[in-house]
Symmetry: C2
Subunit: 134 residues, 2 copies
DNA sequence: CAGAGATATTCCTCTTTGCGTATATCCGTG
DNA sequence: CACGGATATACGCAAAGAGGAATATCTCTG
């Protein structure tokens, strides 16, 4: 029963926050780490869990991996994502996440995870990395 | 976060089946055992789980305990029950449950769990119990 | 109050889940 | 190819969850 898989994915706060962020736009792993203030391994494992259950999709973009909601979501996922958004519209945690997302993407000029690419493109976007080669 | 509690309740098939049955009408424990063909302890523990998380309410009715959806459900529960019903409208398991429920309640003349009351009322309804006093 | 039926609870076991540490893998650069 | 950064995986551990067997509790009846 696919529905139950969906509910299993939804019954963890970190995964809910990830999904709600993804309902606005694709994001790469480093964004989740920053927005959710969670360690890399935690984010990575929850993303893997969501991917195994087909609630998210990935595409590689250079050294980065961009996560998004599936292009062809199952009816169960579609219905539950809508319900989830309705339930969380005024939730403090989630609205704060959205604010942090906007802020984190402020540097992002291009459409995708361009702000994560200090090596291939402009180094001025994320100075901490360009000066880390000491 | 109350939403997550709701999702935790929803991520088990037995509990989903119970909730979907309850979305039609209150039922007593013996009905669940019959409709779901599950052992008493299994039903009882899942009902307890749902009750602990405020997804169902109980009232005693003689020797029987009638379970129902809460009179004043939380917004999260209301939204998710609607979503759940939408998702399960054509599901084989759940539609079969509904058919079994109708059949199980065919003997039931009154509004409630009257069909579970062979001792206080008519013994002809469930002959197996009335003849068990050997 | 004894007995029977309905339901809940306890104990035990197995599996799953969540988290952290450490390590591996993959990619781009030099 | 060596290195560093981004991400994933392996391993260990604690907690939660699910199921069954046995037992307790509650209620009605006689």
């Amino acid at each position: 029963m696919k529905l139950i898989e969906v509910y299993k994915c939804l019954c963890d706060e970190t995964r809910l926050r990830i999904l709600l962020l993804l309902s606005h736009r694709p994001l790469c792993v480093c964004h989740f780490q920053e927005i959710l203030s969670a360690p890399q391994v935690k984010i990575s494992k929850h993303l893997a869990y969501l991917r195994e259950h087909a609630l998210v999709e990935t595409r590689r973009e250079g050294a980065w991996i961009v996560y998004s909601l599936p292009a062809k979501p199952s009816p169960e996922l579609t219905a539950n994502m809508k319900c989830l958004q309705d339930c969380c519209r005024e939730n403090v945690v989630f609205t704060a996440d959205l604010r942090r997302m906007t802020k984190a993407l402020a540097n992002c000029t291009g459409p995708l995870a361009e702000c994560c690419q200090p090596k291939t493109k402009s180094k001025a976007v994320t100075p901490k990395r360009s000066t880390a080669g000491a």
